[in-house]
Every structure is written in structure tokens, then in C-alpha cells.
Amino acid sequence: MRTGLVDREIDGQALLREVAATGNGATVLFLGTVRDINDGRAVTGIDYTAYDVMAARELQAIAAEASGRFGTSSIAIEHRLGTLRLGDISVAIAVAHPHRASAYDASRYIIEELKRRVPIWKREHYADGTREWVDPTSARSHATHG
């Protein structure tokens, strides 16, 4: 089980290697990437910032919860901070498990909890040159990124 905030490119393959074990029959890798459109606006990049210490603690807590609930310690999570371009991976979650149902459920649990409570913020850069902090709780912002 490993979680981390990183300021370099995320290597999904490396996370897959971390969770590989011959006792696992199923692996689910989730990648969140920077989309070119959000809420109908053309996006050119995103700045991610975090309350680093707390974000690291929350990520680790979520991994521990998922491990306990779904019965696997084959979990690796990375979230990238800094300025990302279109298509860059912002978050990667690798979960392996003897059985597929739990691998999917654990993966989903982790991304939903991450989005709900890990103190990370993003400022989108728009094609018109403006930049704005994204507020997923605002009326305009629904069914957005990832």
C-alpha cells in the first residue's frame, strides 16, 4: 500500500508493477487525465495545488479504509500537483485483488473518497486566457472532470 503526491509525470505502468502479485487475479488501474473541455469551456491546462500534509494523510487514510473494506493491501495511489497540460495524468489508482468485483469496488471507493475529501484544488486555464478555481459544489459544475 503506497500513496503519494508527486510533482512529476505519473507512470501508470510503475503502479501496476507495485500491486502485482500472483495471488491477485484482477487488477484495476484508474487514470484521471486533463480534459480539453469542462462545463462547455475550452481548457488548455490545469494547476493543481494541495494542503500537502493533510492531503497526504487523507490519501493514506483512504487507502487504509479501502484495504480494510475490500481485503487487499495491493493498492498504489499517486496524485500529481503543479501545472498539467491536456492529456496529462492527474491521478492514478492501482488496485489488485484475488477477485475482480472487489478490485473494481475498491478502485471506485478510492476515487470517490479522494474527490470528496482530499484537500487538493485545481485552477483551470481557459482558451480565452482566463484562469479559475474549480468549485465542484457550484451549480454550474456538475458531472465534470474524470
Binding site: 495545488t49 474527490k115 482530499v118 468549485d135
Partner: protein, 81 residues
């Protein structure tokens, strides 16, 4: 007591700084801190009336009693992922 409140993202932009000092009586709660912060924020921007708050890097309820030396942060709507 004086509490240093950490600010992030849109809240830091509103205050133009990454933290702000708030003077509170001994035994003050998170709710009192937020009221005081709201006074300081008047006219500055998007601080909502009941933002999320973390004390010592964990989410805290509004009736949580603060102590000198606590690490206090106001948490804008999170948008990770």
C-alpha cells in the same frame, strides 16, 4: 490567543495571502474563528458562511474547541482527481 489560519486556492486569492492571524478568546470554537475570519474577509471575496475547516490536518466540527498552537486551515471545496 492568536491562531494562524491557513488559506488555500480561492480563499488565499481572496485574502491575497496564504494565511491570516486571528485573535480569539481562550476556549473559542471553530465557529467563532469562522465568524472572526468572515469579518476580516468582508468585501474581499468568496469566503462562504460555513466553509470546511481542518484542525491539525483533520476535518473538524464547528463546536470543536481550539487551542493555542493548533494548525488551523479553512478548506475551499476540494477538486482533486
Amino acid at each position: 490567543m492568536t491562531i494562524t489560519v491557513l488559506l488555500f486556492a480561492s480563499y488565499a486569492d481572496a485574502f491575497g495571502q496564504p494565511s491570516v492571524s486571528v485573535t480569539l478568546p481562550q476556549g473559542a470554537t471553530v465557529a467563532e474563528m469562522i465568524t472572526r475570519l468572515g469579518d476580516l474577509a468582508a468585501g474581499r471575496g468568496p469566503l462562504p458562511t460555513t466553509p470546511m475547516v481542518a484542525v491539525n490536518q483533520a476535518y473538524a466540527r464547528y463546536d470543536h474547541v481550539l487551542s493555542a498552537g493548533d494548525e488551523v486551515a479553512v478548506i475551499p471545496p476540494v477538486a482533486g482527481g
